[in-house]
Symmetry: C2
Subunit: 243 residues, 2 copies
């Protein structure tokens, strides 16, 4: 049985942990990093470093047009919104979707990952290098329903619907019977759990980048920096990226 | 009630007809054209001309990375496959998915259209220019289950699954209750029916481009040229693009 996984690798703590996890589970992995015009472009350098440290090939997708398509967010439409400090956390507490929500981001990312995965798998099947009956295919996304409960595309029911759409639209499933699995290893974990898991798997956390701001060093005050710091604190570990 | 629609406009006969249809149904439309590295790049010029003729704004998305991501197709991976003449039709007759299948193309297109649509709608709602209770939002895709029965992402059950995924991942639906509709006005029509509909709606068919080959004029022999010619023939009309 060959197990092929495309890992969405942003360069952050969560996706580096998810990538380490899928390798530990015996999958062959390829990383996919997506440049969607994010203000925190520093994370793309981290994605490259993490893929190298894990010794997995990486494709990079230039999807910068996505920023103009979906400019209604604090993460891409920098002219429209100043980046909020703590505001996203506050909005989630109110049951609202945070201002850092990027329209359909995870939907776009999953679909691109599925296209890369299908292309990889069809390339093996249709050149007879792999029998579809002994092939598994998966997409790994480091979504988390606990800390990001405010984002609709971080919820389990979204992933169930996504799995159905991606398979019904894919030759890999409809012709060859290989069902694309959506692997969300972090979906129910707290940030402290993720830090502990990363530590156990020896994920290269020192190379990761979480800050939403575009600076040289993590700002320490944005939602993402605060969540990360809280995770390390609760796990009782030091953040190697701050060493 | 404001009705906002994003129309996927390739520049072909079908999408020009679908765009004319949605305008005739009273929607405000914006066109989205996607450059995915298709060999038949001529159609992108047609998309521009069609949008101008219909007097609707158009966004163009540079998704050429998609060609490298999803190179397992005769339509994008020109080094891998020669473009087949009649082969796709033959494969569909055998119940197989044609070689011109592009991995997850319609899934990627729908997701990008949904992101553009959501961005447009949220921009109106969150600046209080529009009450979500008096807003409809739709994506128009000229998919056709009859002539393209071989493509999994042209089937009605795929669109039902896509609608669910796109809404569950969207703030527009999960927070504001505006359900993204997927409008597939051509799904059950024959090519002759589409030509007749276009004729009735005065769609600018003379500006459209259907040929899969990359030439100056339609090749007349590829699957797409043959389907188009057959449609005009059966509808008893002359193709204005050949005038």
């Amino acid at each position: 049985m060959r197990k092929l996984a495309v890992v969405l690798l942003s360069g952050g703590l969560d996706s580096a942990t998810a990538a380490s996890w899928v390798l530990s589970e015996g999958w062959e992995a390829m990383a996919l990093s997506i440049d969607y015009g994010q203000a925190h472009r520093r994370e793309l350098l981290s994605a490259k470093a993490v893929a190298e440290a894990l010794n997995i090939p990486r494709q990079s997708a230039d999807a910068r047009f996505f920023a103009s398509l979906a400019q209604h967010s604090a993460l891409t439409g920098s002219a429209l919104h100043a980046l909020p400090e703590g505001r996203a956390v506050e909005e989630m507490a109110n049951g609202d979707i945070p201002i850092t929500y990027v329209p359909l981001r995870n939907s776009v990312f999953l679909t691109l990952a599925a296209a890369a995965l299908e292309s990889w798998a069809l390339g093996l099947i249709e050149t007879e290098r792999c029998d579809p009956r002994s092939l598994k295919a998966g997409i790994v996304i480091a979504a988390n329903a606990l800390d990001y409960s405010g984002y609709p595309d971080c919820r389990p029911e979204f992933y169930a619907a996504a799995k159905r759409m991606l398979n019904l639209g894919a030759k890999l499933y409809t012709q060859y019977g290989v069902e694309i699995e959506l692997l969300t290893p972090l979906i129910d974990l707290s940030k402290a759990d993720i830090v502990r898991l990363a530590n156990r798997l020896k994920a290269p956390l020192g190379l990761t980048w979480s800050c939403y701001a575009g600076g040289e060093k993590p700002c320490g005050v944005c939602d993402s920096c605060q969540l990360r710091a809280k995770g390390f604190l609760e796990a009782g570990l030091a953040d190697p990226a701050l060493a």
